[in-house]
Symmetry: C2
């Protein structure tokens, strides 16, 4: 049975009752238009928790004035059907006024991590994300919250916020799900025409090209970025917004790859702005000795 809640007050009251009854709550915040990527988060929550809450809210605070807030796909009936199939318990789908009533004036800012990548191109975006997620956490009161690694910077920002504000929950990052041709699943793939859909594979192809270069011994970040740029430039329907080669936790650009390294990019394909990323590891540190360090770095990006 799927319980649909439309107001912040009712959501919080429900959650506090569940918590008092000793239930373990799992939470998947979404903007709706659910795809298999979202459903994999819900399935993970279903496995781990007693009560699974999914929020559906297209958060105006995280869209810039020239971004796609008005056109963002809204498919509530389909979303509910899918959530029934994966046995979610509660859908929290508030109206905008329920989360941002008149007089709303408080914002959560995560500094540092939000300076580069999408943060540099979308001023205020991560302030909007951190603020709404903080609110949703307080309303839903989860012990565990699930986010996709496709939005890599978002995941790191949420982890930082949860640690810094002492929110009593665990953030779980889940792998990006991809179509068979490599395209990362995203609600914004709906914007793509047939030809654009084909062109959009250039994002993954460019990351794969970079990974192969690194595996073959390339350590220079500039050369790795060039590999991405060249692959994308060969696709006339795609236009690169940025590609960065960064430390996977601080998200600061690196000049030389000497450990696990994030390659993150954004590109326009038609009207759609798509993002993707991959953590790569240089061949030279992938030795038995360095393997230990690699695993430690990877697991320390998960918080417990």
């Amino acid at each position: 049975m799927l319980h649909i809640i439309r107001t912040a007050q009712e959501m919080q009251a429900h959650a506090l009752r569940q918590r008092l009854a000793g239930k373990r709550l799992g939470f998947v915040p979404t903007m709706g238009c659910l795809h298999e990527g979202h459903l994999s988060l819900v399935r993970a929550a279903r496995r781990d928790c007693d009560v699974v809450v999914v929020s559906i809210f297209v958060n105006p605070l995280q869209f810039g004035p020239r971004e796609d807030l008005a056109g963002y796909p809204r498919t509530l009936a389909d979303d509910l059907a899918r959530l029934l199939e994966v046995s979610a318990d509660v859908v929290f789908a508030p109206a905008e006024g329920s989360l941002y009533p008149a007089g709303f004036a408080t914002f959560v800012e995560v500094t540092g991590l939000t300076e580069g990548l999408c943060g540099a191109r979308r001023p205020g975006h991560f302030r909007g994300v951190a603020t709404v997620v903080c609110k949703l956490f307080n309303l839903v009161q989860p012990q565990r919250a699930y986010f996709g690694e496709k939005d890599y910077q978002q995941l790191q920002v949420i982890r930082r916020m949860v640690a810094d504000l002492n929110l009593p929950l665990e953030v779980v990052g889940m792998p990006t799900l991809r179509q068979t041709d490599g395209l990362a699943m995203s609600s914004r793939n709906r914007y793509l025409s047939g030809a654009e859909r084909q062109a959009a594979t250039a994002l993954w192809r460019s990351l794969e090209a970079a990974r192969r270069a690194v595996a073959a011994g390339e350590h220079d970040a500039l050369a790795v970025r060039r590999r991405v740029t060249e692959t994308l430039r060969a696709e006339p329907l795609a236009r690169l917004d940025y590609v960065e080669v960064c430390h996977p936790e601080t998200l600061r650009p690196v000049a030389v790859l000497d450990g696990p390294t994030l390659i993150a990019l954004a590109a326009y394909v038609g009207q759609a702005r798509l993002i993707d990323n991959l953590v790569v590891c240089p061949a030279s540190v992938d030795t038995p000795d360095a393997q230990g360090r690699t695993e430690a770095a990877a697991s320390s990006s998960r918080q417990d």
Copy 2:
């Protein structure tokens, strides 16, 4: 029995256990150097709640670079003795590194309310207050939190933050306690020499002078401010920092007093920067008809 907790982790684990056991937690956040004003908050929490938690933490984030962080009075042994007397259950006294470990990067900003009054004179102060109080709320998990009206702007900022971030607790404001000569109780009164202590009564005397003027029919905010300024100027050891006449909820300056109105001021007496405030009501709106509106305005500033 007073339980002393020194780490964030231990505090949160303790609080979550109490919550799961169905206990009602009351919380009084302080910077220590406790006086009767603080103790009145603890007594209120004791009346209302099963478990009373008092935090003692001089929060560096809310002090400006030229402010009194280093010299702020620290009197932990005395504080503990007092908290035993008023039957607090838990003292949370974390080290700075426990609340702000390396890499800390997240801040809570309340806009609007923080623009005037102390917010204008102490850049970053309320960001520091909102951030630490948000953290403390998440660690202590109270159903009710108690703040003094002496820090009027702070109280409004906390109320705004709690509403905006959907924190599941009630903020309780408690009246300012005063010495018999009117001086508002404050940890910073310790900074005053004998002569300065006498001079410090000028803050309350100036507010009283303004109140009497309003009661006698003065409606002009400029004239009310002048009454405060003149009273303070007559005291050679005091130096006015600001006086403002504002709406008691929005904290925006008003030109004409036509309902309950906040008079708030800050003044230096020797090294001490002291603050005080008073909500006054013009005689003309204090009629049976307007009384209803006055009460409604007063009660709507309490949140439920």
